[in-house]
């Protein structure tokens, strides 16, 4: 399993549009990808799961990866978070 922590810097937080982009990015991988905030977890491949967390600017989130391509996924999503959020 791989994981990383990230603090959201985008002033709008994870709005619908970046949530959609995150789902798209996550769906490119087969491993299970979870986004966690304050102990609540959302499935990164489900848009409602992510929007349901209502992640705002300044929130620290943890992303976990479990499965065959977890290394590649972890790297790609870390890059995505840094650039988009």
């Amino acid at each position: 399993m791989r994981e990383f922590k990230y603090t959201i810097t985008d002033p709008e937080g994870i709005h619908a549009r970046p949530a959609g982009e995150l789902v798209k990015a996550a769906k490119a991988f087969t491993c299970t990808i979870k986004l966690m905030k304050d102990g609540k977890a959302g499935d990164c491949k489900k848009i409602f799961g992510i929007m349901g967390l209502a992640v705002k600017k300044g929130n620290e989130v943890t992303m976990t990866f479990e499965g065959a391509d977890e290394d590649a996924a972890c790297e790609a999503l870390a890059k995505f978070m840094k650039e988009t959020l």
Partner: protein
């Protein structure tokens, strides 16, 4: 006559009949079904159809309101594909043996409820998106087509609120104006109204019933009112206002193709500011004499790594060729301060506006600068390109830039690659550059005054800070005197001076600038024609000379 007030999101006047748009509340009944497999298949089919509809709407919206406005339809598709949503519907069909319509309606309500109960206004508003997609699914299941406005003549649409999918489906030729009870200035309806250039009101206290439906009305987008069954005098006033507006628009159109000459015969260079190749069309539509500021940052900001020489060359060449011999001034990379770019790996700064930005980055990282210069010198073989360097504060910076430019040219020559000899100018946007403009003018081909940064640095006011708005006085005499000084020093050295900041497009100052002797104004494409009108009406001679 009844008058209702709202908040205007686009000006103009619309005269016509009101059509109250109401969503047909879809009555969904719970029906018990034995054949759950068939019901699951109906749902799967309907879901596919709905997703296809949204894909088509996305395409349509991209054309009408652009990609960012259309993104919502992509999100809607994802919502329909969401495993949790799908599982909830399927589970309900399977275990409760109900019809698909009912399962979708209940699931939609539950998910909308989840959003509505969040303590975040933005997320609360997303409940409307969940309802929108659920309604769509139910319409498909019922075999009902998309709802449209059925009229033979254009109407004023009055509605509670309009979902993105509803506005996009409307036949645009049949809409004179949008008036909604709810909605925000950033809603899809508002964006659409601005793109279509039709008057629109939001937050209007209008009833949605037969007291207005089908009635004759006038929407005044200038003062945010809708007049239902206006009395004769009001109607006449509004029609006059509408006529006046139209004439103004036509007058501006009639200025197309005309020269930018003052009454005393001075030619002014009137150019456009753009930030992307996509803006070229509006430059040509508005009849700009050239491009006075082409912000090259987009090439860097759109990418995840440094754009290559070839990528940059292709863009600069396209712009040079499209403008067919007209001047195109390309500003070299202006990253830093409010424009950040991850892969540059710039350190966090205490004071980014006074930090490593623009030409300072270029001089600190000559390899990045050289790549851009190579592309620019090569592209200038294909048109009338000029290069402009931002954020100059010292004379030695020019010396250093010239050395690097010389190296680049020598390299291109030794490699046998064709290049041109573009004019090279600088932006005057630091008070230091203003004070030494006499010396700077001897070293460069032109000056272009960047009033936004010049104002912020002169007044020591952060222009990103909304709380300082009252202190950010773009008309401050200090700024205006600086402009005059720069123009005088440019003319002394025999070069031209222009303005490419916001102030250049400020029509209340155009006349003063012309009197100061400003040679060039570079403004956003939409301001070209209004400014041309003022130029053509200005006489810079003294009163005593005018009689001759």
């Amino acid at each position: 006559m009844q008058v209702y007030r709202g908040k205007s999101v686009f000006g103009g006047i619309a005269v016509g009949t009101i059509s109250v748009y109401s969503r047909e509340e879809q009555q969904v009944k719970r029906v018990k079904t034995e054949d759950t497999a068939a019901e699951l298949a109906r749902y799967a089919n309907a879901n596919e159809t709905a997703i296809a509809q949204l894909a088509a709407l996305y395409e349509k919206a991209v054309k009408e309101v652009g990609e960012s406005g259309a993104a919502i339809f992509e999100i809607h598709q994802m919502m329909l594909e969401d495993e949790d949503y799908k599982e909830s519907v399927e589970n309900m069909i399977r275990t409760q043996q109900v019809n698909a319509e009912y399962a979708v309606a209940v699931t939609g309500d539950n998910f909308a409820q989840m959003f509505a109960s969040m303590d975040d206004d933005y997320m609360k508003a997303r409940a409307a998106d969940v309802k929108d997609i659920s309604e769509r699914l139910i319409s498909v299941l019922n075999g009902r087509g998309a709802q449209a406005v059925n009229t033979k003549e254009p109407v004023i649409i009055v509605a509670d609120d309009l979902a993105p999918s509803e506005t996009v489906q409307m036949d645009k030729d049949m809409v004179l104006s949008f008036v909604t009870v709810h909605g925000s200035a950033n809603s899809h309806t508002a964006i659409l109204a601005r793109t279509m250039e039709i008057p629109a009101l939001i937050g209007t206290d209008i009833p949605l019933d037969e007291s207005v439906d089908g009635k004759f009305a006038v929407v005044d987008g200038m003062n945010g009112c809708i007049y239902v069954e206006p009395d004769e005098q009001t109607l006449k006033e509004l029609k006059d206002k509408q006529k006046e507006e139209r004439e103004k628009k036509e007058l501006l159109l009639s200025l197309k193709g005309k020269e930018n000459v003052t009454l005393d015969g001075r030619q002014i260079m009137l150019y456009a500011n753009i930030g992307n190749v996509k803006d070229l069309a509006t430059v040509l539509q508005n009849d700009a004499g050239g491009i006075g500021l082409f912000r090259s940052e987009f090439l860097y900001l759109e990418k995840e790594e440094y754009p290559t020489e070839e990528e940059q060359f292709a863009v600069y060449k396209t712009v040079a060729e499209t403008m067919a011999g007209k001047r195109v001034i390309i500003r070299t990379l202006d990253i830093g301060a409010d424009k950040q770019c991850g892969y540059f790996k710039l350190e966090r700064e205490e004071n980014p506006a006074l930090g490593l930005r623009a030409i300072r980055i270029c001089l600190a990282r000559p390899e990045v600068f050289k790549t851009q210069l190579r592309a620019l010198f090569r592209a200038s073989a294909y048109g009338n390109l000029a290069i402009m360097y931002p954020m100059i504060a010292n004379l030695w910076e020019i010396t250093r830039i010239k050395e690097i430019a010389q190296e680049v040219k020598a390299e291109l020559a030794s490699q046998g690659i064709a290049y041109g000899n573009p004019a090279q100018g600088i932006m005057i946007e630091t008070p230091a550059a203003v004070m030494i403009s006499e010396e700077l003018a001897k070293e460069v081909d032109f000056f272009s005054i960047g009033t936004n940064d010049l104002t912020q640095y002169t007044l020591a006011v952060d222009r990103q800070n909304p709380k300082l708005e009252e202190f950010y006085d773009a008309h401050h005499p200090a700024v205006l005197r600086m402009i005059r000084m720069v123009v005088d020093n440019a003319h002394k050295a025999g070069i031209w001076a222009g303005i490419c900041g916001e102030l250049g497009g400020d029509i209340t100052l155009t006349q003063s600038f012309l009197e100061m002797g400003v040679d060039e104004l570079s403004v956003s494409p939409g301001r070209i024609l209004p400014i041309r009108k003022i130029i053509r009406e200005t006489d810079c001679r003294k009163e005593s000379e005018k009689s001759n």
